[in-house]
Structures are given as C-alpha cells and as structure tokens.
C-alpha cells in the first residue's frame, strides 16, 4: 500500500484498523506533512483536510504582521521571509496559498497594504505624505501608483468619495433629527393645546 510505504519512509507512526483506515499517531509537523503530501502527489493522491486551511491562516497572519510592522520588503525577500517564518519551502507555501485563496501571496500582500493605507487615510486622517512615510513607501508617487493599480482610483479621488459619503450620511441624519424635532414639537403642542 502506497500510503503505508510512504508513512514508513518518513518515519511516521501509524495504525491500520480492520476497515483499512489508517490512523496516524500524534500530529504531523508541517515539515513532515509537506514531504508526505509532495510524495503522495506523485501517485495522484491528494490530501483533503483542515491542515491547508490552518496553513493558509498562518500565512495570512505572517503577511498581516509584515503589513502592520509597516515593513516594505523587496519581492525577493518576501518569499524568504515567509518561508523562514513558516519553516517550509516557499514553493509549497505559495502553491497551497494560491489554491485556497484564488490569489497569490504577492497580490494578497499588496491588497492588505493598500487596505492599511486606506484605513490610515480614513480613520486616522493622515496625509498621503504621512501614509507613504509611515508605510515605508519610497515616495507619495509610488504609494499613489500602487493605490491606483489596486483600487482603480487615485488616493485623492478615494478620499473625496469617502468624505462625500460621510457628508451625505450626516446630512441625512441631521434632516431626520430636524424632522423628529418638528414632530415632537407638533405633538407636544397638540397635547398642550
């Protein structure tokens, strides 16, 4: 049996029950898991379980750390950084990630960085210069370029849209307040009258 041969090859303890089901004793380390999976793939055997989901979650956490540390690493260093943090080969990590999330690690990182830039603009009201500086972009032009490429909008247009939305919202709340006040006025007049 291919599975048994492979488990033995990687020194993974297992048991087989009467139904032909294989039980692995204890947990596999990510390393063992990666090797076993790569080896079984040659026979057309695919793993289906929660492990990949956990792995993808861990990759996302490493990426978020990068984004919130405001570290801007060159492309070549991102792969080695993530591989080192995860203690797995980058080719394995990036394949699992793309299969599960429908995007590449590079792309995900860019989306998250721009997301962070948007939050800094909207929530913390930072200027574009401050955002570029805080997030370690080489210049405002570079931030604007990546912003436009990712969202289809320049940071200036983005900011204007959010401001107009907020104004619309506060205008409609004010209007509602006035209508309510008028109603209250009228009803108290009716009550007293």
């Amino acid at each position: 049996m291919i599975l048994q041969e492979n488990l033995e090859k990687f020194g993974i303890p297992y048991e087989v029950n009467g139904m032909g089901e294989v039980f692995i004793d204890g947990e596999l380390s990510p390393r063992q898991y990666g090797k076993l999976e790569a080896s079984l793939r040659k026979y057309g055997i695919e793993f289906i379980d929660d492990h990949k989901e956990t792995l993808v979650q861990q990759i996302k956490e490493v990426i978020m750390e990068l984004v919130y540390m405001n570290e801007k690493l060159p492309d070549s260093r991102i792969s080695s950084y993530i591989a080192r943090e995860m203690n797995l080969s980058y080719s394995y990590i990036s394949r699992v990630f793309s299969e599960a999330t429908h995007t590449s690690i590079q792309n995900y990182l860019i989306i998250q960085r721009i997301e962070r830039a948007k939050q800094l603009i909207v929530d913390e009201k930072l200027t574009f210069t401050e955002v570029a500086w805080k997030m370690n972009y080489s210049s405002v032009a570079h931030l604007s370029y990546q912003f436009k490429k990712t969202t289809g909008l320049t940071p200036t247009v983005f900011q204007r849209i959010i401001e107009k939305r907020e104004n619309r919202y506060s205008a409609s709340t004010k209007l509602n307040c006035r209508i309510n006040r008028l109603k209250n006025c009228r009803s108290s007049r009716e009550n007293t009258g």
Partner: protein, 151 residues
C-alpha cells in the same frame, strides 16, 4: 475556508451579461449561485424577501429599467437589512462624474462595461478575485472601492 456558494444577483435588462458572468465564475473556480432580475420592481421584490438572506453581491446595471440604477442604489443603501451587501455597478457611461457619483451613492465596485463579452468576462474575473479577499478576510466594506476599467 468558506465552502458555501457565493450568492450573486445580476440586475440587468434581459440579463445580457449572464453569459460573461457564468464564464467568469468558471474561470475563477468559485462555487456560486447566480440569479437574475430584469427591472427595478423585480429587484425590490427580490431584495425585500425576508425569508431569504440578501445576496452576497449585487451587480446593478445603471440603465436598469425603469427608474435606473442610481435610484435603486439610493433605495438599497437606506435599507438597514441590505447595508452589508456588496454592490457592483456596471455601465457603459465612463465619465469620471458617473463613476464618482456611483461610489458616493454607495457602490463598492464600478465596472466600465466593455462591448465584448469576453472582455467583460476578464474584468469580472478580476473583480471576483479581489472581492473574494474581502469576503474571506473580513476586510472593511465601508472602504472597499474598486474601479475596473478594462480598456
């Protein structure tokens, strides 16, 4: 991973872009349910059905009969139940004013509708790839703005 199918609603006269949507969904390999409505009355009825969860994402043609997309957009964004629904607007009007108005009125995505269904398919595939990250990573919907211009 979210294994539930993505619930998509297409609001467009005669659903002419349905083909491009189906092809785009095949390309990005997302499990989905696609429904179509052809005018504003059908749209209102569909969205106000309390028995059904609102769609995850609505694609709204700005030229939707009878009152047009902007009017529908206004109506949807004042409805608390539909507040979290992602709205993609598409149109062949490509002026900056139209695009900005759509976003200000509450659209999350603006797609400049190309004439060729294959270009539309590519644009939609791009939209779904990014939308998926929002859907699965809990990103803030209030600041999710995406402008897709395939030309």
């Amino acid at each position: 991973m979210n294994n539930d199918a993505l619930h998509i609603l297409l609001a467009e006269k005669e659903g002419i872009s349905g083909f491009a949507f189906k092809e785009a969904m095949k390309a990005v390999k997302l499990k989905n349910v696609l429904n179509c409505v052809n005018n504003d009355d059908q749209l209102t009825e569909y969205l106000n059905n309390d028995l059904e969860k609102p769609p995850d994402i609505l694609f709204l043609d700005l030229d939707l009969p009878f009152r047009g997309g902007f009017e529908c957009l206004n109506e949807i964004r004042t409805n608390n139940r539909l507040k979290n629904m992602i709205i993609g607007v598409f149109s062949n009007k490509r002026s900056d004013e139209t695009i900005e108005e759509a976003f200000v009125k509450g659209a999350n995505i603006f797609i400049n509708k190309p004439d060729n269904p294959f270009d539309l398919k590519d644009a939609l595939a791009q939209v779904f790839n990014i939308f998926w990250q929002y859907h699965t990573s809990g990103l803030k919907k209030e600041i999710f703005l995406l402008n897709i211009n395939p030309d």
